[in-house]
């Protein structure tokens, strides 16, 4: 029986990739949700005004980036050495990301 190379395709679980992909989907969706929330709730907009010259956009993006990185790190810790159901995870990630793109479009975001 041939020995398996540590870097052969079968030796690399898809969990690393799945965590990165779903993390990006979560990050994209979080950005849109936080942007809408900051626009709807003036108090939240003021809280997210991290850097005055840029205004609430600074807090919206910083918070979304933090959520993205935390979600990615959490999923990475759970999945990095495993094979996971990539099909459903990829579908969820793409849906979340597309929703993020659509919800950042003001006429759609304003519906909420």
């Amino acid at each position: 029986m041939p020995s398996q190379d540590a870097t052969s395709p079968a030796a690399i679980p898809n969990g690393f990739g799945a965590a990165a992909v779903l993390g990006a989907g979560i990050g994209g969706f979080a950005l849109a949700v936080i942007a809408i929330a900051a626009d709807r709730v003036p108090a939240l907009g003021r809280v997210l005004d991290f850097y005055k010259p840029t205004g609430p956009l600074s807090g919206v993006t910083t918070t979304a980036l933090a959520i993205w990185l935390i979600a990615w790190a959490f999923l990475h810790a759970r999945w990095q050495n495993r094979n996971v159901a990539l099909g459903s995870i990829a579908a969820a990630a793409v849906i979340l990301f597309v929703l993020g793109v659509l919800l950042t479009f003001p006429p759609l975001g304003d519906l909420f």
Binding site: G17, A18, F97, T104
Partner: protein
């Protein structure tokens, strides 16, 4: 530098990365992928991620404060105050309320997706050929990155056409009640 430098380079690089990942890394792709080819794409994606982050950070923290500068009371010439200039006319108000409002958020989706694509490629490299589902979803995110960067670039160009951001040394901050 923000748009015509980092942003334009990113858009140009995007098409190259999409073609390379689609053509060479598909399961029945042409020929063997050498370590040199793999290293090239790793470096290429890393530079792209750097360009994407430089674009959004310079946009949000250098250009945007100039865009939203507040004119001193009594100012009639709003040429140096792009946001106020757009808001001053019914024919241009949507360039701010739709154009800039979309641009300032959608642009951030590009670096998120290219960073993910870069990380996945660093891990899997040539082995993406044997992970077609993973390659396909990375390609989807690369396309989304291209699309979101394209939207931001187009809106940026149109906004600059209607109300040029000239920049300056003094930045006045928007404050409520003033």
């Amino acid at each position: 530098m923000h748009g015509m430098g980092f942003g334009a380079l990113y858009l140009l690089a995007c098409s190259g990365a999409i073609v390379e990942l689609w053509r060479r890394y598909r399961p029945d792709g042409p020929g063997e992928i050498s370590r040199r080819d793999e290293a090239f794409l790793r470096g290429y994606l890393l530079v792209m991620a750097g360009l994407a982050w430089l674009t959004v950070f310079t946009g949000a923290y250098v250009i945007y404060p100039w865009y939203r500068a507040v004119p001193p009371p009594g100012t009639s010439d709003l040429a140096g105050f792009p946001q106020r200039l757009l808001l001053s006319s019914a024919t241009t108000i949507d360039w701010h309320s739709v154009g800039m409002e979309w641009k300032e958020h959608v642009a951030w989706l590009a670096p998120i997706s290219i960073t993910m694509a870069c990380a996945v490629f660093f891990k899997y490299g040539r082995h993406l050929r044997s992970q077609p589902h993973l390659r396909n979803v990375v390609l989807c995110f690369l396309l989304a990155s291209f699309l979101t960067a394209g939207i931001a670039a187009f809106l940026g160009a149109m906004l600059n056409k209607n109300a040029p951001v000239a920049g300056g040394r003094v930045i006045q901050i928007v404050t409520e009640g003033k």
